[in-house]
Each structure stands twice: as C-alpha cells, then as structure tokens.
Symmetry: C2
Subunit: 625 residues, 2 copies
Amino acid sequence: MTTSESISALKNIATELRIDSIESTTEAGSGHPTSCMSAAEIVATVFFGEMRFDPMNPQNPDNDRFVLSKGHAAPILYAAWAHTGLFPRKDLLKLRRFDSDLEGHPTPRLPFVDVATGSLGQGICAAVGTALNARRIGSDYRTYALLGDGEMAEGSVWEAADVALYHKLDNLCGIVDVNALGQSRHTQFDHRMDEIAARWNAFGWHTLIVDGHDVEALLHAFAAARAAKNNPTMILARTIKGKGVASVEGKDGWHGKAFKKGEEADRAIAELRTQLSGSTPNPRIPPPASKPREAVKPDTSPDFSKMPAPSYKPGEQVATREAWGTALAALGAVDRRVVALDADVKNSTFSDRFEKAFPDRFYQNFIAEQVMVGAAMGLAARGAIAFATTFACFLTRAADFIRMSGLSNARHQLNVKLTGSHAGVSIGEDGPSQMALEDLAIMRAVPDCAVIYPCDAVSTERLVVEMANYHGLAYMRTSRPKTDIIYGLDETFPIGGSKVIRQSASDVATVVGVGVTVFEALKAYDQLKAQGINIRVIDAYSVQPIDAATLVASGKATKGVIITVEDHYAVGGLGDAASEAVAPAGLTVRRLAVRELPRSGQPTELLDRYGISARHIVDAVRKSA
Amino acid sequence: MTTSESISALKNIATELRIDSIESTTEAGSGHPTSCMSAAEIVATVFFGEMRFDPMNPQNPDNDRFVLSKGHAAPILYAAWAHTGLFPRKDLLKLRRFDSDLEGHPTPRLPFVDVATGSLGQGICAAVGTALNARRIGSDYRTYALLGDGEMAEGSVWEAADVALYHKLDNLCGIVDVNALGQSRHTQFDHRMDEIAARWNAFGWHTLIVDGHDVEALLHAFAAARAAKNNPTMILARTIKGKGVASVEGKDGWHGKAFKKGEEADRAIAELRTQLSGSTPNPRIPPPASKPREAVKPDTSPDFSKMPAPSYKPGEQVATREAWGTALAALGAVDRRVVALDADVKNSTFSDRFEKAFPDRFYQNFIAEQVMVGAAMGLAARGAIAFATTFACFLTRAADFIRMSGLSNARHQLNVKLTGSHAGVSIGEDGPSQMALEDLAIMRAVPDCAVIYPCDAVSTERLVVEMANYHGLAYMRTSRPKTDIIYGLDETFPIGGSKVIRQSASDVATVVGVGVTVFEALKAYDQLKAQGINIRVIDAYSVQPIDAATLVASGKATKGVIITVEDHYAVGGLGDAASEAVAPAGLTVRRLAVRELPRSGQPTELLDRYGISARHIVDAVRKSA
C-alpha cells in the first residue's frame, strides 16, 4: 500500500487539490484557499490512501464517513470528491454561486455531506454521532473528522472528546490541521505540538503527532489509528497555512482571502504545477467493508402505526414530561432507528424509561448539551431517529447546534427530535436560571422545524408519535407539573392542528392557550361562564406550523377578539405565531406572556405574578370583549 | 493561621453550614442539600480561612470574589453569607420563597452575587472576567470559583481554562467539588482524581488534589494557589456527596432532594450536631487588600458627551461594522471602563481598532464565544462596560450565556454590550452557516435588553454611544456590505426612537426597514414615486424598545398599511416587534422576511431571492395599498 508509486500519486493529488482550491476560490472571488492548502496532504491521504467507500454512492451506509469540521476549507472537500469522479472537476468553478450546491461552507444539499459545517467545533460532535451510528447499524465503517487548530478553542470540541472516550469510539479518527494561524492572528498554541498533544492525551485519546505534509507519515498514522482499540484517535498534523505557494506560506493576513484573478493566481498555480511529478494514476479507492450485518433501511419512512394507544385512568394527573418518557420507550419498541440522547437529566426528563428498555440505543453525554445535539445530528444524518432531551432552558446551550441542525436538514431528512422539559415559570422554586422562556422563539426560527407543546399526557403521547413520523426536525416542549388529562384516549393530534376545547354560539373572545396555560384558560372559562360570559378556548398544541384556519375562523366568530396566553416571553412564541397567522384576515392578537425576569416561587404564584393565570385571562376578556 | 483553634472553628462552621443547608431546603420543600454538604469544608475554608473581604460591603471593589459556579448549591452560599453577619441566619428559612431574594439558584438580586449561576459551566467563565477586572482596576483582589465535577463536562469550562491560561490569571483559583455523583448517575470520571488532574495540568493550570473534607489540606492548597505565579490554580477536592449524614453519604438518588420535614430532617440534623465540637468563635475575616491603586468609580454613570461627532464625506460608503469599530475606539478614549472582547474575528468586526488603541483593555478569547460572553459578564459585574463581539451567527453559540446575562442584569447594572456583525443573507457567498437570521429573536427575548440595528455609519457611531450610556444589556447588529451614508453628521438616534426618512401627505403605505433593508425601502420608494405612488419609509433602528408611537401614527396616516422588511427570519424580529406595537391600535403588519434556509450567492441576488428586496416591497405595497 505504501509503495513509492502510491506515495507519489498522493503527493500529486495533494498538489492538484491545492490548484483546484485556488482556482475555484479565485473564480468565486472569495473563500479560504490557504486553509485548504495546509490540509492538502491530509485530505489527499484520507480520501485516496485510507478511506473505504463507494465514491459513486456517497450515501452507501457502509462507506467510511468524512466530516469537514473546519468547514471553511470546503473547496478542498469539493475538489477531493471531484477527484473521486463523483462530478466533473470543471464544476468546481461554480463554487459559491447561487446556481450551485458547492456553497461557501458545506451543506447536505450535497450528497457527500452528512451535516452542515462552518460553525467551528460542530463537525467533531456530529462525527461522534456518525461513529455511534456505525455501532447502531453494526457496520465496520469508520469516521474521519478534520478539524482546524483554532477550532480547538471551542469548548464543544472537548465535549466531543469526553463523549467519544466514554463510548470507546475507536472507530473515530480526528485529524487536526495545525497550521498555527487563526483568522486574525496566531492561534493560542501556535506550533507547540506537545502542548496540544498533552490535551488530547489527558482526554484519553490515542494521540499522534505527524508532519501534515508527509503523506507517508500520515498513512502510518491512519494505520495506527485503525489498529488502536477502545480509544478514539487524534492525529495532530503539523502544517503550514498556504503550503505550496512560497509567498503566502505561514503568512498572517491570508485567512479567507482568494488569490486575485490574473497574475497573482496564475503565478501561484504555476508554482504548484512545478511540484507535480508525472501523471501517476490515482490509487484505487477500496470499497466499503462488506462484513455481513443486519440489514437497515435508512430510507424507509417510519411507520409507527403499531404504537399502543395512550392508557390513563379518568382523574389521573400526569406531567407531560412523564408521558413523553412513556411514549419514547414505546416508540423504541416499534422502530429500531429510534435512539435517545441525554445530558445527565434522564430521571427528570423521563428518558430513563427508554434507557431501561433499550440501553444500547441510549447515549449518555453527561452535562454537555452541545455534543448531545451534535451527536444527534450525526446519528440522524446516518438514518437514526434521534431524540435528544434536556431541560428546555439548557437547550439554549446548543442554540448554534440547533441552528446548524436546521441547515443540516436542508433535504428534510434529518430526524433530530429535540425535547425541552421543565419549560416556563411553572417550574416554580428552582428559579429563573432553570426556566426556559425563549425556547419557542429559538426553535420556531429554525425553518421547517415542527414546534409542539402539549398540555396533557394523552396529547403528549400522540404527539411524540407525530414527531417521530414528521420528516426532519421537530421540537417538543414539556412541563414539570402534573396536569389533568383532558383528552379522550382515542383523540388524534396532527401537527399543524389545534383543539377547540370550549365553544358556544355566543363566545365573546377566543382564548388560545398552550401547555400549562390551557388549564388557566379553562379556569377562566369557568369563572366567566359563572358570570354569564362565554369564551372559546383553543389548545394550540402545534405552535409551528400553527393552525391559522382555526384561529382566523374562531377570531371572526368572536368579533375579532383573540387573546393568547403562554408560559414564555412575549417574543417569538405563541402570541407572535398567532398574530402573524391572523394578520392577513385583519385580526390582531392580545398577548399574555411573561414580560420580565421572573424569580423563584410557587408555580401557581408565579403564573399569577407574571400575568398568565386565569385571573389575567378573565381581565383581558373583560377589557377586550 | 492554621492553629488548631482555627482549624476546629472551620470544622464547626462547615457543620453549621450543612445544618443550615438542610434546614433551609427542608423548609422550602426542595433544593440540593447533598450538593451543599459535599462542599461544606470548601466553603467554610474559603470564606473564613482564605478570602479577604468586607462582609458588610459585598460590593467593595477590592473584596476577593467568590463565584458559585455550581449554582444549585445556593443554600450553602447563603448560609456562608449569613455566617459572615451580612444578614440574620433565620432569613435562610425563606429560601426559594417569592418574598425573598434567596432564590433556588443565586442571582444578583443579592448584593453578594456578581452573576447569576445555575446553568453549569458559566460561573467559571464569569470568574475569568472578574479576574481580568482585578488587573483592569489595579486591585489585588483574588477570584475563587467553586465548580461541580459533573460541570466539567460543559465545554465552556475548557474555554475558560484556555483563556485564563492565555491571560496568565494567577489571581484566579478554581475549586472542583469532586463528589463523583451527577444528577442522574455517577459522573464520567467518578473519583478518578488523577484523570481529572491530568486534564487541568494539560490545560496549563497549577493543579492540586486534596481531601475536600480536610480543612487543613484546603488551607494549604489555597496558600499554594496564592503563591503560584503566572498560571491559574485548580484545586480538585475529593468529597462525598451528602457528607455528614451517613444515610445519604455517596448515595445515588439524593440529587436535588430535600430531607423530609419531621423525622428525616430532624435525624439528619441531630447527627450533624454530634459533629460540632464546642463553641469556637469564628475566625476574623481579613479586610480586602489595601494596596493603593488608581481610584475607580464603578457606580458613576457613563458620560460620553465628549465623544467626537461622526466624520464622513458626502457620497462615502462605509459598512456599519467598520463604523462600529471606529466608534468603539473613540469610546475607549473617553472612559477607561470600556473594554473589548474578541473571538478571533477582530479584523472582520473591526474591534482591532480598539485593540490598537487600548491593548491592555482588549481581551482575546480565540474562537470561544461562550467564555467571551461569560468573561464580559464578569467584567461588567465589576464595573466595566464590556463590548463583546463576533459574527452575529456565532453569538448563538453563547445563547445560554446571553440568557444568563439577562438574569445577571436583574439590577440593570450589567453593562454587557454585545455586537453581532455579518448579519443576514446580505453577507452573500459565505453561505448560510455564516448568516445570522435569528439573533434579533434571541436578543429581544432578553428582558430589558436594548436591540439596535443601524443602517449607516453615522447612526452606527451615534448608537454605539447610546449603547454605552444605556443601563445594562444592549445588542447591536451590524452588516457586512458597505452602505451609503444617509444621515447628517449631527443627527441623534435615541434608543427607542426611529427615523421617518420619507413621507408625504399622500402616502399609501408605511414601509419599515432596518439595517440593509432601509436601502431596499428607499429604492422601492423611488420606483413607486416614479409611478406616482408615495410611501412612507421608516428606519426602525431601535428594534427594542421599538418606537410604537411613530409606527402607530404612521400606520394610521397610511390607511393601516404597514409593511416591515428585514434581513432576518420572520420569527421574533422587526415584524413581530412592530406587530405587537401596533396591535393595540387595531393595526396589522405585513412582514417581509427570510422564510427558508438560504444558500450562498451574491448579496443583492440573495436579498431578492429571499423576498426582502425593493422589488418585493414594491409588490407588497401594490397588493396592500
């Protein structure tokens, strides 16, 4: 394998990838050629001397996976795939154009990209997920992730390091392109390879330092990584930014800068061409591991029709978070693709019910929400239906990962299902640091993400199934307190729907509740009814997409009076969603929501103090109607 | 100092703190007594054997600082302060009550709390900021941060580790309460102290392992930390969760659980009382270091009246991000409290202008947005006016820190000023991973946070000054492309205001733009004008608070037609803000905003493709008016 011929071929490929990276960025007029040039031998070696994959079918489930965690080096990733023969090399010149999927940073609009990268420190987390997935589907495929050295400053990298160690992911191999230059200056650790290695060693990784421009050394390192058992491997490759073009090598001020079209680019390319030695053919790419394994059908639509119906007794009180746990465990029994990820709160979110039933599909991430969501992305990108859960307030820790999940869902196939428990002031005494009051806004801002917020155990169970069936990203918000069961066991709850739970011909206002406030609306209904005033009460369990037709019809039927009430800040939640939905009909919405920093107290006390209790609904109805 | 008498006193205090922690949580009926009990000797020793501070004036600028990064141990923090004499011990029984500031997790509603904690991994980042602040004000005070061991799973802890090393913060001393139990299970590293120590050593910290229940060993460790130069210190204290009450010591299932009132609590307290030895008086707390230093007035209101006026030539095109950099450097010359924090994008955000002028007040965090915002919190909590900046999309990485900044701003004194550059699809070719389209929603969801989005260089400069003067949190969104200067050099831009930049008596619609879309609105104005149609154009530079009066008046003057247009998703931005502002007047808003995942392309191409260009405004006016 490491014959002098193949070594020479890899060196040539590295040079060609450099040329491609310069040509494409110069044509685009922007991009990061020098960040590609430092990685040229690494990419050439991993693609053409190490990985086993079918280049004509990048989605083959047994292909080795490559994640470009340093997403700004996209041009060299594209060049490598063009080099495999997947698409014509001339297409590279469409880089960054609106009519091309070869975007500035990689997205899964491209068939060879599992997850979008370009926000540093995320690809390595997703790679943890793809490595876990190999175990899930019983495949021998390996995962390779290329990081930048500046990227190691992101804490999420160390979250990934911990989780990979914990799960003994010896099928995961990271490579850091240590070119010592960040965007604006030298990195914190420059070329002090030993200091960097000490970190990875301390985090329990099998760690190797190599000359990142020596393909033979890289081949040996990859072989050593493959041979290492139990621990993941990190290859620290000492490189030079801009390598191959003397005028930019190791120079500050060349980050994210294309060579100017004309003399500047031509001279650089001419210099690189002198580094080519003959026309050695590409080494053959070995096919994916063919070890027989249980068949998986990653493209089959989920079918959860066999799910048991919810089973509760009349008068029972059950928290939606608990019903969620019950439903998740049931889902796991119906489809092996269902997996669960936790961040050390499984006994509060009730994901421990899934763990108990399916310990091998339950992935503990400890208190590290970023890698939890990142790993869920990686698992989902390889066919899992990945439920990741923590307190809703702590999902904000992963907001950037959620943003990138949205982008990774460009084909509506990324089945990441997030659940945030303990939402809102209704958690009570733990206080504001534990109260999610912005999660609906963050999740609604993800295009095509379904946002669900059930009020009782029956609707929760039904909606967990809807989430699982939904194509792509979905979010469910659950609550801490036990609540009444208000729905019949056979009712259905389609995403995009709502439930009109009280109505009459003489309703003076439409009150739209969601989650815990549905019960406040019902109390307000009773109080007003006793005074001879009828209101319509709607449970808007599907916050996105919202049931615009029902809201408009109801609003019209109640003389234009629509009042929303939510255990969330006024920004970006139910009120805004409803307001936009009814605006085309000329209707406005009065929003009851939390409008100040809350504090510790009893749940009922807080609902009242922050303006979202039955009393406030009654007041609002009286003032509006 | 380490006489047998003081040792005995510290042991007694530790036991008393345990008793207080049990009594208060039992009275509250919830809380984390066992997480307090593991930390009792640590807290007793640091408060009564190590720190120098004035307990009657917790805000003395020279006091040593204590940050409870493991915020769920709040009861022992409160008990320690009661023990100093700051407030009566009986107040501890008000824990978690609505009428008390002794909340479930610490907030700065209490005078001895600098930043809110309770979201793990944040206190240590803030402690980096308070340690940097000591250098800023020339004080000898030291910062102590108590972490949980489970907390080390949060990547932000390692971001803090890197930044503290880089800045050689030998005035920072962390203590990890290694009780080996997380919420739902044993931590990843249990009591394997050497594995934990290897990590901190590898990150360059002076690292010590001690028995966390041995006050003498703790005193020695603190003394060693004080003696260490250049590097920060991490004391790894091996402890037992629930220590002191045999029935819960080291037991799983006791996280976040109060002892039941009555026999269970009484028995635990009785057991602890047997551990008290006599009534040794408390050791005297040494006063803060009195080393003479330049006076600082942390409570003085900023006065930026001496700021130079913006200076631009007619016809000049300047990006708002660049004007921001110019203004920030000017601010720094006027008030020494102004500091800047960067995450390795200073040459793109233009914060390098501040660095050049004031290198000692410029703090590099490399690519680590969480610690950047966390350190800004710490600095601001100690009197700095802290401008932290990166690309707007990467501020989402710090969304949970931003959430907690909001909480830390409970007294409207936390002068954290965030700026997100390169917002929206108008960045163009770099593609969607670099486009912030949800930042307005995230920032608007922070109570009392001013959200500013200027369109030209003049308004940017003026608004940077407004941000600096604003009490508490503020956010500015800046843009990548160069834009025309449309305002006169002497115009003013109060927060909460707006600018009506085109109007006539015959306007058929109000078009509200912000940032780059102001120019699209102006183009639409010209096109419509040419067709004999007049529109009113408003620059809503203050997205929060929004200028409701002007919007309502304008909407009424244009027959109720209001169209908003923003380079942001439809959720939680200008459209929602405007909609809520005009709803009480019965007006609705038509929102032009980005409504799908964008892709790479040219800025103008993208504005048009995603529905926010002049053409779309013209269409909307024609359809609505």
